[in-house]
């Protein structure tokens, strides 16, 4: 191998721009040479000539070419008389008194540098076995490593090295495939980093394991790696054939924001996905929240197209869909109730998380099972280098996260826990009702990552959360989430890898009441699902990336169990028949880069659902509304016998056309199917909401969504502007008959009706990602309408009416301002139209008591909602050596103290009807949180 000479300079002394100047200058010098016979000695007289002139004359009369940075030599004047002296000797004379050094390579190229001397030869052991550690940069810039077809370790300390890829291979068509992984300094894989050659257009993003596969032309080129929160990395590669290159990125602590821009910039225009929002935990932590608790779900609520269901609640509606139509994944496992304490806290410990990605329209084919969106929450990998930790102390909760390496850096572990001390607080209160109350929660999460070898990695995640509260009454509520996943990633070849995932999720709640001895009872519910999923990614060629896979989920639901408590209880022990079902799917999708400006992705997911026995299914008189009065009999289905089977294709199409360098047009069409339904006749998610599987009467929900988007980046990509519009149709989602009984109902089909929905809207977003001032401003116009008009049941006489999530206008402003590196301020502004409400229209006397007659369902609206929050983040000092790095967050939630109605209700009091609005956070709420990491 012939080493390619490259001026290798200390990064600190030479910026990229200067490097370019140097090269340009060098070429110029070369162009000016005269074709006289080159010699090795210099003859001539120089009287105070500039160094550039000196260099020109050296080049003209000798075989030496001088390469230098004009800025470093412009103060130098050369005065000497030389007669046949060797050039190196002359240079020693000229440069001797200065701080400049020179070195000469075999082709008589002279590199003049300030500070360091350029090494023109590789160390003698360069081609030997890899050295155990990287050599110190200052003295041996060209790090030892393994070149050629083996893996080349490209640590962050070797920016100027040239990596030979696929040496000895003969690429078929002048193209080669480069694969590898991107990790951070602690050995954690970096997800979503952009890896590209000379142009971002042909770049790829690293997957959830930090792995990438990129097709490059053969030859010498630069490979760029960019990701949020990391310094940009560049690798010089000499591509001979397909090979592997791992890249380690250096965490960028100080110029975080600048890096975010670059990554987002590239993604914004080149990504095929539309309606995707990726939130990095570092961004999330800047946004003020109630109680000072970093809350990933509350930040999701600030995104365009996502609407809150109620304040103090993390249930959300995406583009007019229901709260149950969002698939919330925690490292691949479904979490059914991602909230604590009735939804005042998110169930995820922010210190454990790496990012959250929300898919609103172009849902990748590998996801399925919910109609409206996918929220993919990903935990960090632990620190592979050393033991460390982080935590926070707040007014109501505290949290702690610990992490460290496993098996000498081949893996890592990460464990985080969080608990509230509200129980303790309640017990301190003088009020007897309240100190009899209890409200507490905790969660625990763990994650292991382990690389078996270059081709095989294992990941395991576990999650547990529990809530328990008793509110001065005799009823105790509790609920728990359990989720776990195991992933095995296997790289079959440079172009093909697969991931096998096993998941398990459980959600359960209980309600215990013992006010009267004869009716003392305990109600239990639980849902279990186990799943197996295989996903393959195949980089077929530079233009095609194919993903395919299959999954299957077995659901088992115990929809209700009532057991007596105590000897005197007359309650009949009731257990509703267990529901079970199997949901399977296969999918394939292809990303096709048709032309540099046009990319298409077509996916098909085919899902099959079978509700399985044993089960007794009631039959009803045809043509009549199903009720207990219209039951005709029942049919028995044996164990494992399918009592209803549904199947259908789910199309996923998306296209991206780049109009110009900084504008893009995207379109997508999606069909999604959902076989599990949440039953709630309240507007907000409560722990007693049941999930119900589709059966012979409850049909699967289906949604079609068509979306169009226009994206434009302004001011050197520092400002992103986008408009997305969508139209959505929903079929067979559940609405309720008035006064429906949902708990312990063995025949729910008598209380629910199948509804149709349609939703449409436009989302406008302006986002500034760089500079001291950054953030986003969005405006959303969205409608969400429902119709219940079956042959047997109607709501509002079968007309279209606004759904519970219909809030046409929404304005959100999220702004951060960094005063300096330690102090920053954030502000949130949120406005939305009030949600629909069913209002009392008139009153009447019945049995001597004044009663209320309500309007049609959702005919009116509550007052508009707006809120302003403010937060200050104070970072500790930036000393590297200290016990722990701490930061303070001071936040004020609802700065203006607006009393936004959470709930509006009417009560008949002493024969008179009074309307009330309940505001949960009706005054400014100041909080202080101390966060630390070590």
């Amino acid at each position: 191998m012939k080493p390619v000479p490259t001026p290798l300079l200390r990064a600190q002394s030479l910026s990229g721009a200067a490097l370019l100047l140097l090269l340009a200058c060098g070429r110029q010098a070369y162009a000016q040479q005269t074709p006289t016979a080159p010699t090795a000695t210099l003859t001539g007289t120089f009287q105070a000539v500039s160094f550039a002139e000196f260099a020109r004359r050296v080049a003209a009369t000798t075989s030496y070419r001088l390469y230098f940075v004009p800025a470093e030599t412009d103060s130098l004047r050369v005065t000497l008389a030389a007669t046949g002296q060797p050039v190196p000797e002359v240079l020693r004379q000229v440069l001797g008194p200065t701080r400049l050094h020179f070195s000469i390579d075999a082709d008589n190229r002279v590199y003049i540098t300030a500070g360091e001397t350029v090494q023109t030869q590789l160390p003698t052991n360069f081609f030997e076995a890899p050295a155990p550690a990287l050599a110190p940069m200052a003295t041996a810039p060209a790090s030892p490593g393994r070149p050629a077809s083996g893996a080349a370790l490209a640590g962050r300390t070797a920016p100027g090295r040239v990596y030979d890829i696929g040496l000895g291979q003969a690429p078929a068509n002048g193209k080669a495939t480069l694969t590898g992984r991107v990790r951070d300094g602690q050995g954690e894989s970096v997800v979503g980093a952009l890896v590209y050659g000379e142009l971002p257009d042909n770049g790829v993003s690293t997957d959830q394991f930090g792995a990438y596969t990129l097709t490059l032309p053969v030859g010498r080129q630069r490979l760029n790696v960019r990701s949020l929160g990391f310094k940009n990395a560049t690798r010089q590669v000499q591509v001979y054939g397909s090979g592997r290159l791992d890249v380690e990125l250096e965490v960028d602590v100080t110029s975080l924001k600048e890096v975010v821009v670059e990554a987002e910039k590239a993604k914004n225009l080149t990504s095929l996905r539309m309606g995707v929002a990726k939130l990095d935990i570092k961004d999330i932590k800047q946004i003020p929240t109630v109680f000072g608790e970093t809350d990933i779900l509350r930040v999701v609520l600030l995104l365009p197209g996502v609407k809150s269901i109620g304040e103090g609640n993390t249930g959300f509606s995406v583009r007019g869909g229901g709260a149950d139509q969002n698939l919330v994944l925690y490292n691949g496992a479904v979490v059914y109730n991602p909230a604590h304490l009735f939804g005042f806290f998110s169930a995820f410990n922010a210190d454990m998380l790496k990012s959250a990605e929300l898919y609103k329209s172009a849902v990748p084919a590998r996801y399925g099972g919910r109609l409206s969106s996918v929220l993919d929450v990903v935990t960090r990998d632990g620190n592979r280098k050393q033991f460390s930790g982080a935590g926070g102390i707040g007014l109501l909760t505290s949290r702690l996260t610990l992490e460290g390496p496993l098996a000498h850096g081949k893996g890592s572990w990460l464990v985080g826990g969080r608990t509230s001390y509200s129980n303790w607080l309640l017990r301190q209160l003088p009020n007897r009702n309240l100190n009899n109350s209890a409200a507490g929660f905790s969660d625990l999460s763990g994650h292991l990552a382990y690389d078996l070898n270059d081709r095989n990695s294992l990941y395991a995640t576990g999650y547990f959360s529990q809530d328990r509260f008793r509110l001065a009454t005799d009823t105790v509520y509790n609920y728990r989430n359990l989720a776990g996943s195991v992933k095995w990633k296997h790289t079959l070849s440079n172009k093909l890898y697969g991931v096998l995932t096993g998941t398990y999720s459980r959600y359960q709640y209980g309600l215990r009441s013992d006010r009267t001895a004869t009716t003392a009872s305990e109600l239990g519910y639980n849902l279990n699902q186990g799943g197996l999923q295989a996903d393959f990614t195949y980089f077929a060629s530079a233009k095609h990336t194919v993903e395919a896979g299959a999954s299957t989920i077995l659901y088992r639901i115990n929809p209700g169990q009532l057991t007596q408590v105590g000897d005197q209880s007359l309650v009949v022990n009731t257990t509703l028949a267990r529901e079970q079902a199997l949901e399977s799917a296969v999918y394939v999708s292809d990303r096709f880069d048709v032309a540099p400006r046009l990319a298409l992705e077509a996916g098909l997911r085919y899902s099959l659902f079978s509700a399985l026995g044993p089960r007794d299914v009631l039959t009803y008189q045809p043509g009549l509304s199903r009720s207990e009065q219209t039951v005709t009999g029942s049919t028995r289905y044996g164990s494992g016998q399918a009592l209803a089977t549904y199947q259908g294709p789910e199309w996923r199409f998306s296209a991206n056309y780049k109009l110009t360098e900084n504008t893009a047009l995207k379109a997508s069409y999606n069909r999604t199917r959902q076989y599990i339904h949440q039953l709630t006749n309240t507007t907000v998610v409560s722990p007693t909401d049941n999930w119900k599987l589709s059966d012979g009467y409850i049909l699967p929900q289906v949604a079609d969504q068509l979306a169009l988007g226009y994206y434009r980046n302004l001011r050197a990509n520092s400002i992103e502007v986008s408009v997305e519009a969508y139209y959505k149709k929903l079929y067979n989602f559940l609405d309720y008959k008035d006064g429906a009984t949902l708990l312990l109902n063995p025949h729910l089909e008598t209380d629910v009706v199948n509804a149709r929905g349609r939703a449409y809207g436009a989302e406008f977003l302006v986002r500034k990602t760089t500079g001291k001032l950054n953030g986003w401003l969005s405006y959303t116009y969205a409608r969400s309408l429902v119709q219940v008009n079956t042959a047997t049941d109607q709501v509002n006489s079968g007309n279209w009416y606004p759904s519970n999530y219909d809030k046409p206008h929404d304005v959100t402003l999220v702004g951060n301002y960094r005063f300096n590196r330690r102090v920053s301020a954030s502000v949130n502004f949120n406005y939305s139209t009030g949600r629909p409400i069913t209002l009392p229209l008139s009153q009447y006397y019945l049995n001597g008591v004044l009663r209320v007659f309500y309007s049609e369902r959702n005919q009116y609206r509550v007052p508009d909602y707006y809120r302003v929050d403010l937060a200050f983040n104070l970072e500790g000092n930036h000393k590297i050596k200290k016990l722990a790095h701490g930061s303070w967050t001071l936040a004020i939630y609802n700065l203006l103290g607006r009393r936004n109605p959470y709930s509006i209700y009417f009560q008949a009091q002493q024969g008179q009807l009074n309307g009330y609005q309940l505001s949960i956070f009706g005054q400014p709420i100041p909080t202080v949180t101390y966060n630390f990491r070590f």
Binding site: L841, G848, R899
Partner: protein, 388 residues
């Protein structure tokens, strides 16, 4: 929930809280005045049906009565039992015994000629109440419980109404009486006493229970109501409980009505719904008609609690009673003084009531206002016949 949160936050040193404000909905005056049918068909007694119209929530009007309608009970064989109107809007059928094997419906036609009818419904016979008992609560109020049972095949859904009756006294006792014929004060007769009265209040909340989840159709000591310590529990307390057995459909109707008008105000409210009953307009099935006319008999049971059985010290009637808490001390006037003559004139007009002579200075006579003296303003001075 909200209160809990409020306390949580306050105790955490935060100056904040949730709050509840009045809310006046911006609803245009509803043009529609829907028909309200209030009552039930009693197969073993008098059936009373009241017809009225709904009225705006923003006004304090009384319900406009629907007069001059033709109302009748009709069985599944087509036999009609007409109801007579008296007073306007109230329609009554005399005591009757309907055949429990048949099904019945209410049919009516308004003065405008619009026709309405309920569905045909089976007769539900209410089992008797086994007992109504009471016990003291820790805060010195009382808890009333009810026990009933019926055959396992009988209706398992119950609704209860009650009338509370309690004895109370006015703030000041009047021993004298103004006699208009002589323009003088005479000794008050026991028959005209104004001091001790009995007040009866009907229940306003919908009280229901069922045995659908129980192995037997039995309710044992089911909690009916709790009375807080107040002037109700000073001299004596009585409760007349009416039990109504009903079909599941009627039970569901009252439950829905209760949820949408009474059981609100918590964080996780059920959605209020448009509650319409089993009465339909024959011409237009979409016209909302309010009320549920069931077919069921009534069982009654009275509870009496002697005031002597309440623990002492008993709640002070005057201070705990909203009727008399604001009463000022009575004014006195010397007999034949000018002030006395003015007071006498005011007694003639009914603005004052003579109380008694001062025990030390008998020439001074005290007077009080009817609001503080005449208990009949809040009840009746005639002792109910069931009162011992």
């Amino acid at each position: 929930m909200n209160r809990l949160l409020l306390f949580l936050l306050v105790s955490a040193g935060l100056a904040l809280g949730g709050c509840i404000d009045r809310y006046v909905p911006d609803v245009p005056p509803s043009a529609q005045a829907n028909l309200v049918v209030d009552g039930f068909i009693n197969p073993l007694g008098r059936s009373v049906i009241k017809l009225s119209r709904t009225f705006s929530v923003n006004t304090k009007n009384t319900a406009p009565a629907e007069a001059r309608a033709q109302v009748a009970i009709q069985d599944d064989a087509g036999r009609r039992y007409p109801l007579a109107e008296n007073p306007a809007g109230t329609y009554t059928a005399g005591p009757q015994a309907l055949d429990p094997a048949r099904q019945y419906q209410l049919r009516l036609a308004t003065a405008q000629g619009r026709e309405y009818a309920t569905d045909l419904m089976p007769v539900v016979l209410t089992p008797p109440i086994d007992s109504v008992t009471w016990k003291l609560t820790p805060v010195q109020g009382i808890q009333v419980n009810l026990t009933t049972h019926a055959a396992a095949t009988a209706a398992r859904y119950y609704r209860w109404e009650y009338d509370e009756t309690y004895q109370f006294t006015a703030a000041y006792q009047s021993a004298l009486e103004y006699e208009a014929s002589s323009n003088s004060l005479v000794q008050r007769s026991a028959a005209n006493q104004l001091f001790t009265c009995w007040r009866t209040e009907p229940s306003t909340a919908i009280l229901q229970g069922n045995t659908a989840q129980l192995t037997q159709n039995t309710l044992a000591d089911a909690p009916l109501l709790t009375v807080l310590p107040s002037s109700k529990l000073r001299y004596g307390y009585s409760l007349l409980v009416r039990q109504l057995a009903q079909t599941q459909a009627e039970y569901t109707y009252w439950e829905t009505l209760r949820k949408s008008t009474e059981n609100l105000g918590t964080v996780n409210d059920p959605l209020p719904g448009r509650v319409t009953g089993n009465v339909h307009a024959l011409a237009d099935t979409t016209e909302p008609v309010l009320g549920y006319v069931g077919v069921h008999s009534v069982a009654e049971k009275r509870l009496f609690v002697d005031g002597a059985r309440f623990p002492t010290p008993r709640p002070n009637s005057v201070l705990n009673d909203p009727f008399y808490a604001a009463c000022a001390p009575p004014d006195g006037a010397a007999e034949r003084s000018p002030l006395y003559l003015i007071y006498l004139q005011q007694c003639r007009g009914g603005f004052l009531i003579p109380l008694s002579r001062d025990p030390i200075v008998p020439s001074t006579i005290y007077f009080g206002t009817p609001a503080c003296v005449d208990c009949r303003l809040h009840g009746t001075s005639i002792k109910p016949n069931y009162w011992p």
